[in-house]
């Protein structure tokens, strides 16, 4: 039962001018948000409804705008690493990694091998942590709050690991230009393995109660279908694209960090036999969580010894040669990227942060929402896995 909008039923509107005659009594405008319309962060949805059916949706952002890109232009290169992690709260490490790696590329710094491994480990842990939070949100959006309790608990145990490694729970500020800030503490790897076991157990339970669940199936199957031909036009990346059968994963395609030394395959909707609806995407993400767990175990197994940091020049006067680069990484939502321009001074000329939610939450969501039921909006939005702060940076 696909619930794609029947385009002919409603008048076409272009140019941002709403043609809906709100006086006619056929339409009603509803605001969803900006106070956390899912577990995603502050974002407002301006809905035009006809009955309980959505006929138009506009995404409004700006509730989290802190001007990070501008702030970075006014700070020295080293002063930005505490800043970038705040661009995406549930997954700060991608910002830290991409900022540090792009800076290193422009400055011509090679970092030690162990640091590269620890960075990769960090990113996979961040993926797992972020997926845990998302999974609870997805279940919660369809009224299954219990699962949210479980996953947020597990996320907290993951945050304990981050706290032990980095000294911070949410904002780790651990991946710095030149490597990572400190070596792994004594006994930390075994703590990771213990927590992974607990997460796996909870994941088993979740798969049992969520994927064999009449309510979830009724609501999620067939809702929010992404077809492969939409992928390029809407700029869809990550699990949203993979569930439709498009096998693209930057970890494989570009093999940055040490992903080429790890054993994993791209998971697509086809490879695990699911459709590209909310139900399928949820299953795909659950499969990617198990993939992350496997990758973390592989890395702990093979982690090389050695130093974890090389010192840049005195950071107070650190100037980076003029140049520009774009680096991207596969975060839970897709292509996360940093475009950095240096003009040879001690501060970046321009830092542009590419978050996958930019297209998913605006162009794609505005296209998918019409025709769906108002009660499904939150579920649909969460299924696209959007985080507003990375839209407005």
């Amino acid at each position: 039962m696909t619930q794609m909008p029947d385009r002919e039923k409603f008048p076409v509107h272009t140019g941002g001018v709403e043609n809906f005659d709100l006086e006619s009594g056929r339409y009603m405008k509803v605001w969803q948000g900006p106070q956390h319309p899912g577990v995603t962060g502050n974002m407002a949805l301006e809905l035009v409804t006809s009955g309980d059916e959505i006929v138009d949706l506009k995404t409004h952002v700006g509730y989290l705008h802190r001007g990070f890109e501008k702030l970075m232009e006014r700070r020295k290169w080293i002063q930005n690493f505490p800043l970038v992690c705040r661009i995406c709260v549930p997954e700060p490490d991608f910002n830290e990694y991409l900022y540090a790696a792009a800076t290193e590329e422009l400055a011509g710094i090679e970092i030690p091998e162990r640091a590269v491994w620890i960075r990769t480990l960090n990113l996979e842990m961040a993926r797992l942590t972020s997926f845990l939070m998302w999974l609870g949100g997805q279940a919660g959006a369809f009224g299954m709050g219990t699962i949210g309790q479980w996953t947020v608990t597990m996320r907290d145990f993951m945050l304990d690991l981050f706290e032990e490694l980095t000294g911070g729970r949410i904002y780790h500020m651990y991946i710095v230009p030149g490597g990572v800030r400190g070596d792994v503490p004594q006994g930390w790897f075994s703590h990771v393995l213990t927590t992974l076991k607990n997460v796996e157990k909870v994941l088993d339970d979740i798969e049992l109660v969520l994927f064999n669940n009449a309510v979830f199936k009724k609501r999620a199957v067939g809702l929010g279908v992404i077809t492969p031909d939409m992928v390029d036009y809407y700029g869809i990346t990550g699990p949203n694209a993979r569930a439709s059968g498009v096998a693209r994963d930057i970890r494989k395609d570009r093999s940055y960090l040490i992903y080429d030394k790890l054993d994993f395959d791209i998971i697509t909707g086809i490879s695990i036999g699911v459709d590209s609806d909310i139900f399928g995407r949820t299953r795909l993400r659950a499969a990617e969580m198990r993939q992350s767990i496997s990758l973390i175990r592989q890395m702990i197994d093979k982690m090389p010894e050695g130093p974890v940091h090389v010192s840049p020049p005195n950071v107070l006067h650190w100037k980076i040669p003029a140049g520009e680069t774009y680096l991207s990484a596969e975060c839970t939502r897709g292509e996360y990227g940093y475009y950095i321009v240096s003009d040879g001074s001690d501060k970046p000329r321009r830092v542009y942060v590419r978050g996958p939610s930019y297209t998913h939450a605006v162009a794609l969501f505005e296209h998918m929402a019409p025709g769906t039921n108002i009660a499904d909006t939150a579920g649909l939005m969460v299924s696209l896995h959007t985080y507003p702060p990375e839209i407005e940076r």
Partner: protein
């Protein structure tokens, strides 16, 4: 849809029988992890208030504030960081960059209060319960945001150095200088310690940015002897350098030298300001050492006419006659002096000032500055020291400056532990002698620069510490014997430095061809009229001056080794500069 889809969700109920994950706070406390970045701790005794934490803080959360009971001196600004936790983002950049390692973080993060102002405090001084917390974030081993190692200075090998009087230190290349300058954090702690209060962070910045002309301008703002000071300065600045607390201090002296080395004398004028409009005032300066010539330079820059009277045949004072050529080549000293002379300062050599001419000078000139240095060697005060094989340290250096072989023989003993003793010993070494230095206290007590002591040792000079001189006697074959008593160090009950005390029976004789006595010099002021006539008081052999060099006679000023206690070139330069500004103030006020 299957029957399983209806039943499976009830599996969540099994969790009702499991132990809850929730922590019962505050019954079960959950401390932060060992590395947790919580509220700051600061070890006040280690902190020097350099303010680098404030500089790096990207949130402007740190203010440097004076703290009651913290007496800033000797490389401590007396300021301490105060942190505003309304702005702090707990990134710990301040901890990572802290030059002394005093700033760390505790793992405490829970603290609630109604008053927002309590969240702004001075860690380590405003007492907090986590001040003694053992866990929390500190800079990880091997992680550094600053460069702790100094760029090595290229120098002649010891063997090469001993062959001649060629300058041993070669100087930095541009690349090396920029790299070394990059290590500076521009805290400015060094400025107070420098007797001339040079703008050290400023000229280091000029080196880093490749702006040599700006560097020259900054050097000459406070010191017209950069080529000389860049080689032989006692560099007290480096002793307090904040980088030196966790690594090698920045090579401030070598960077100063680097700037001066880059500019030919002919091009000095392009970088440096010209003297001001002529004021018509005339000032006489007695002594063309660093103190006198510095005063002359700044007075000339202020538009006054200056005449410098020097008893010897060339200027530079101790820089020329007391420091051997391998440390300060004469052409470098001449470069400094020539620039000052070229601005219109008249230097008259071979003029001995006596009490009569002093009084005439006072009459003929609007003001007078004297800085004649220490020329009177101290006696050893033991029997037989007038033996013809005993020479004065300065006399030996003097002779070498004049180009004469001092003819010291094959074995030489040097008595003393100051720079003159080291220079004399190393000079004797260059004439092929086996040299032994005998000093009454320990090596660490030697007043000579540590580098001079180390280099002397590298050149094969033996140092015998704790040797109390007893007497000098003739020895066989025309040699001379130095009899000394081994001492042990005893603590001073008054808390002063440990004193040597002779050990009974431990009496030795050191036999050598020549003995050089270099136990310091005193003032010699034969030209100074009585206080009743000149208004200049002398106390403990020193003319009495205020901190700006003014004597009891408002028109007469003094500076350099004869008045200050540090007795080095840069202190004399500081005195000369202060006196020049003071004279200008005195003269121009008189006018107004």
């Amino acid at each position: 849809m299957s029957i399983k889809d209806i039943i499976a969700p009830f599996a969540v109920w099994k969790r009702a029988f499991e132990k809850p994950w929730t922590i019962k706070k505050p019954i079960d406390d959950r401390p932060g992890a060992d590395r947790y970045r919580g509220f700051h701790k600061n070890d006040g005794d280690t902190c020097i208030g350099c303010g680098t934490c404030e500089t790096i803080c990207q949130n402007a959360a740190i203010d440097m504030v004076p703290v009651d009971g913290v007496q800033g001196d000797g490389g401590d600004s007396g300021l301490r960081p105060q942190i505003d936790y309304g702005r702090c983002c707990w990134c710990a950049l301040c901890v990572d960059i802290c030059t002394t390692g005093s700033l760390t973080m505790s793992n405490r993060y829970v603290w609630t209060d109604n008053d927002p102002d309590v969240y702004r405090f001075i860690p380590g001084y405003d007492s907090k319960e986590w001040d003694n917390a053992e866990t929390g974030y500190s800079r990880p081993e091997g992680y550094s945001l600053l460069k702790e190692e100094r760029v090595e200075m290229p120098a002649l090998s010891v063997e090469e150095g001993l062959k001649s009087f060629v300058e041993m230190i070669k100087g930095y290349s541009a690349e090396q200088a920029v790299k070394e300058a990059d290590r500076c954090v521009e805290c400015g702690i060094c400025v107070a310690e420098c007797p001339a209060h040079m703008d050290i962070p400023g000229y280091i910045r000029a080196v880093r940015e490749g702006n040599i002309d700006e560097g020259m301008r900054l050097l000459y703002e406070t010191n017209p002897f950069p080529a000389s000071c860049g080689r032989i300065c006692t560099h007290r600045c480096e002793e307090v350098c904040s980088i030196g607390h966790n690594g090698d201090s920045v090579a401030i002296r070598w960077l100063k030298r680097y700037i001066a080395d880059q500019v030919e004398l002919e091009d000095y004028g392009k970088a440096l300001p010209r003297p001001e409009e002529n004021t018509g005032k005339k000032i006489a300066v007695i002594g063309a050492g660093p103190g006198g010539l510095t005063a002359a330079y700044y007075l000339r820059m202020l538009g006054h006419d200056v005449a410098v009277l020097e008893a010897r045949k060339a200027g530079g004072g101790m820089l020329r006659y007391g420091i051997p050529e391998y440390r300060l080549p004469y052409d470098q000293l001449d470069k400094d002096i020539e620039y000052i002379r070229g601005l219109g300062v008249e230097i008259r050599y071979s003029i001995n000032v006596d009490a009569e001419s002093f009084k005439n000078l006072e009459k003929d000139y609007d003001a007078l500055f004297f800085s004649t240095g220490l020329s009177d060697p101290y006696k050893l005060g033991i029997d037989g020291e007038d033996n013809p094989r005993v020479f004065g340290g300065l006399a030996v250096l003097d002779e070498v400056t004049a180009g004469k072989d001092p003819k010291l023989g094959k074995t030489v003993g040097v008595i003393g532990g100051g720079n003159v003793a080291m220079d004399a010993a190393r000079t004797a070494r260059r004439y092929g002698a086996e040299v032994t230095v005998l000093y009454r206290r320990r090596v660490v007590d030697m007043p000579a620069d540590i580098e001079e002591i180390e280099e002397a040792a590298e050149e094969g000079i033996t140092i015998i510490p704790q040797a109390i001189p007893l007497r000098v006697e003739d020895a066989a074959d025309g040699k001379v014997g130095f009899v000394w008593n081994m001492a042990e160090m005893v603590d001073d009950p008054d808390g002063g430095r440990p004193r040597p005390q002779p050990i009974k029976g431990e009496i030795h004789t050191f036999v050598c061809d020549s003995l050089i006595s270099a136990v310091g010099q005193g003032t010699n002021l034969p030209y100074l009229p009585e206080e009743s006539e000149s208004g200049v008081a002398v106390k403990r052999y020193k003319p009495v001056v205020d901190e700006r060099g003014q004597t009891g006679n408002p028109g007469i000023f003094a500076g350099g080794d004869i008045v200050n206690s540090r007795k080095d070139a840069v202190s004399a330069i500081g005195d000369g500069h202060a006196a020049a500004l003071s004279i200008d103030r005195f003269l121009m006020k008189k006018e107004a």
